[in-house]
Subunit: 162 residues, 2 copies
């Protein structure tokens, strides 16, 4: 079971590919820099780069953290646009999309729902045996992919329509 985790942002979108078997094997990770161009261009970068990742790594599912709109409405709007672009790339490729609450992911990974991004990154690197420097956006994407692989049986699929 191979999954692509995505952490969509309006300026940077992180991603990570993990293969789950008896253990967890990290296949790839990185960040997509969206630049400061107009909104259609930034959304198109997310959509087309995620499509490229699906072609390259052939995951069986795409997983993301839910956007929790407790923050500023403007931030929620921008994250919604970015998240929508990533979800559409999965839907266009007929892949199931799973969304998890960020607190749930952090709780499972670190034992603490309000863990910082740095604490989460520390556990992600430990669990996947990553020695290199890991960008925090990529670490967030890997964390939700790990969570999915460790909890897939008890979670509901948000099946895509194609």
């Amino acid at each position: 079971m191979r999954v692509l985790g995505i952490d969509p942002g309006s300026r940077v979108t992180g991603f990570g590919v993990i293969e789950g078997g008896p253990g967890l094997e990290v296949i790839s990770w990185g960040v997509i820099r969206l630049g400061g161009g107009p909104l259609p261009e930034r959304l198109w970068k997310i959509f087309s780069r995620v499509t490229d990742l699906l072609m390259e790594f052939r995951p069986q599912a795409v997983v993301l953290e839910e956007v929790i709109p407790e923050t500023f409405p403007r931030a929620a709007l921008r994250l919604g646009q970015a998240q929508g672009a990533a979800i559409l790339a999965a839907a266009q490729n007929g892949l199931p999309v799973y969304l998890y609450h960020p607190l749930e992911v952090k709780q499972a990974l670190t034992g603490y729902g309000n863990a910082s991004k740095e604490q989460t990154a520390y556990m992600v690197k430990y669990l996947l045996g990553i020695k290199e420097r890991l960008p925090l956006d990529a670490s967030d994407a890997l964390s939700v992919a790990i969570y999915h692989l460790q909890n897939i049986k008890r979670e509901e699929a948000w099946c895509s329509p194609k």
Copy 2:
């Protein structure tokens, strides 16, 4: 100059196609009902139906109202997702996307920036000579298309990347 106006919503998305020449000619309008399915399915409906409209009516531009995140963060998130799906369909087809502030559109159409949807619909029907019942979501989509055609010279294009 033919334009497609879209009013993206999380449950219903309105659309309208107008041809601008010496006058304004309405070509089509309608609503896309998204149903109560999972998020990827609803976003996919917007993306694929807007793509169909672009194929059918061949507009030269796609116009939308900006989402003004003064409302609840959750509403901003949902509107951002829906708006992103519509913008992506335009970007995939290489069309320029224009976004206008809703107050600006209402002010120009009715002389009153806080006009109700019903007041806007009244003016839209009058300007386009529509006698039939016009769904409010379609009327909102037509209103931004009218605004674009009447103000195109002084507005900045949000050019799409393809």
